[in-house]
């Protein structure tokens, strides 16, 4: 098991390095460097562009910039924000807990709602319950997050006055954003749970369990769900990426702090070091979450653990 974790950890190092390189290259290989992009629109003079270029170290050869960029990252230095002049890493880390909190609660909502709908649909295969569950799932996938968020604010904050519309702090502020984000992801999970469970329900060991005289409840919980839910774990990793991306919109709608909103603001202000740092951090978190999912997958599925993959 340790060997497996070690292998996966080692394999993720080149990935993180490659992600870092891509983020660096993307910003430096495009026509027009960041200094020009930032100042050209506001009518900056050639001197001010040249000054900013020197400030950002853009006048040095690419390999020198790249080496410095990597060394700085290893030291935990992602540069300084052009607008606040504060260290990028510090700014991002301040916002990170809020985004992680939102993503985790949204994941809980997605898993609870998704598995619930999926199981209900599979157990009532080809009935109206199945149709209703799948209709809810498709609606979840098709509804824009920013729209469902605004509708919930209209209903629960402005009409019923039950929940605060925007801001931060406590469960009451988290309920609507987490639900909106989780609902969007629940659709995908529900469809997967349904098909996975349907496949398992026709396996021979389920027939054997029935022949033994086990109750349907025991068959479902002990035999069917255990096996049906294994593929769901991979999707959890992928969905975490979706939730990180969805947080960008959710945080804007509910005026919450967070990495997503910070990145959007940074793009609008053309604060490139902040955009670079934010995208890099999100990609690294996503890679690490998928690594964790990979490892826990092996815990859940003994076949994988023993094959030593």
């Amino acid at each position: 098991m340790l060997q497996l974790i070690g292998k996966r950890l080692l394999a993720s190092i080149p990935m993180v390095w490659a992600v870092t390189t891509l983020v660096f290259l993307a910003l430096h290989l495009l026509p027009g460097d960041p200094a020009e992009l930032m100042l050209a629109e506001s009518g900056g003079s050639a001197e001010s562009i040249a000054y900013l270029r020197t400030q950002l170290g853009l006048d040095e050869p690419l390999h020198v910039q790249y080496t410095r960029f990597l060394l700085n990252i290893v030291r935990g230095d992602l540069g300084r924000s052009l607008f606040t002049n504060r260290p990028v890493l510090q700014t991002l880390l301040e916002q990170l807990p809020s985004t992680i909190e939102l993503a985790l609660f949204a994941m809980l909502v997605a898993l609870a709602l998704g598995t619930g709908l999926g199981i209900l649909a599979a157990l009532n295969h080809n009935s109206w319950v199945d149709n209703v569950c799948m209709a809810i799932a498709v609606a979840g996938v098709s509804m824009p997050i920013f729209w469902s968020g605004l509708l919930l604010i209209l209903l629960f904050s402005w009409t019923l006055h039950w929940l605060p519309a925007t801001g931060q702090g406590g469960m009451r502020h988290l309920l609507m954003p987490a639900f909106v984000l989780g609902f969007a992801s629940a659709g995908t999970i529900a469809r997967l749970v349904r098909s996975s469970l349907l496949e398992v329900l026709y396996q021979e060991y389920i027939t054997t369990a029935r022949a033994k005289g086990l109750t349907e409840r025991v068959i479902l919980t002990r035999h069917a769900l255990k096996n049906a839910l294994i593929p769901i774990m991979t999707v959890v990793g992928l969905q975490f990426g979706f939730l990180l991306g969805g947080a960008v919109v959710t945080e804007t709608v509910f005026s919450r702090q967070g990495i997503g909103r910070l990145i959007v603001d940074a793009i609008l202000w053309k604060d490139f070091p902040l955009v670079q740092g934010g995208v890099l951090l999100a990609a690294v978190i996503y890679t690490l979450v998928n690594l964790l999912v990979d490892i826990s997958y092996a815990f859940a599925d003994p076949r994988l653990r023993h094959s030593g993959l």
């Binding site: 993307a26 098709s142 824009p144 920013f146 509708l151 990426g241 793009i267 990609a283």
Partner: protein
């Protein structure tokens, strides 16, 4: 007297009539009520968008200060916005933008994605390894974040959003097509084509591509829903279509500040986005079941 035959002669069973794949697909699609509903809604939306200049009651950009924030009525079916512009007319014109964004983004994703997948799957070796590592790299960014990063580089604007959303979609096509090519390439007709001296380009385009087209069609449809949703999200964030262009995401963003006084400005475009994405998803699901049931999740 007739001699009895020592053994009964095996009667040759008549083979079942050969079904023509497009007809099978059409029949399966016709039986799928969800897909038909999706197709119907999408067709109506496309028709309304195409005929927008003829059926829109008002100019979508015409400002009318006297008709500011009017609720839905006989004169303005979906009400008016802050500048007194007719929301229904803007919805019709916005449909053109959203559908166009969906189609263009899918083209930007599918054409290079398919080409890369064909090359990687056919030539294997280092070309394959390199392509797939780059695709893995792109997939290590959550979809919309990759698009956000690209918009950050190219600058806000509708065209850049199409490119960004398109590029973010490339890896899924490359992965899918590569996998299909690996399976199709083993077929006898590919070896036969090679034996008679066909060039690689011809084999790829005439023998392999037609046989991997079904999953590409399915993915393109589902990808279009994703593209419309993401592009409208980016416009909502102020990074896509810029005012006064009537784009559904941007319209929703404009109406956000007046949600209490004039909820129709926000509700109508959101409903339009949802209906479009829903219909494309339903159609995509139906196509997947009809063309390639193995892809079903």
């Amino acid at each position: 007297m007739t001699k009895r035959r020592p053994f009964p002669i095996p009667t040759r069973k008549r083979p079942p009539p050969r079904e023509i794949p497009p007809l099978v697909t059409r029949r399966r699609l016709r039986r799928n009520r969800g897909a038909l509903l999706g197709l119907l809604i999408l067709a109506l939306m496309a028709l309304a968008a195409a005929l927008a200049p003829f059926i829109a009651p008002y100019d979508p950009l015409a400002v009318a200060p006297e008709a500011q924030l009017k609720p839905p009525s006989a004169a303005h079916w979906a009400g008016t916005d802050l500048f007194g512009r007719d929301v229904f007319s803007r919805l019709l014109f916005g449909g053109r933008v959203s559908l166009l964004v969906g189609v263009v983004a899918v083209l930007i994703a599918s054409v290079p994605g398919t080409a890369l997948g064909l090359i990687a799957g056919y030539y294997r070796g280092w070309v394959d390894s390199l392509t797939m590592r780059v695709m893995d790299l792109m997939l290590s960014f959550p979809g919309i974040l990759l698009a956000l990063g690209i918009v950050a580089l190219l600058g806000p604007g509708l065209f850049n959003v199409m490119i960004a959303v398109g590029i973010a979609g490339i890896p899924s096509y490359t992965r899918l097509v590569r996998g299909s090519v690996l399976a199709v390439e083993k077929n006898l007709y590919v070896r036969a084509a090679r034996t008679i001296g066909c060039r690689d380009g011809r084999i790829l385009l005439w023998h392999i591509l037609p046989n991997v087209l079904a999953p590409i069609v399915v993915l393109s449809t589902l990808d279009m829903a994703w593209a419309i949703l993401n592009a409208s999200s980016l416009s909502f964030l102020g990074l896509g279509a810029q005012p006064p262009m009537p784009e559904w995401g941007a319209m929703l963003s404009e109406g956000r500040g007046f949600m209490r006084q004039a909820p129709w400005i926000t509700i109508a475009p959101g409903l339009a986005i949802m209906l479009t994405v829903l219909s494309v998803n339903l159609l995509g699901d139906g196509l997947r079941d009809a063309l390639d049931p193995r892809l079903r999740t």
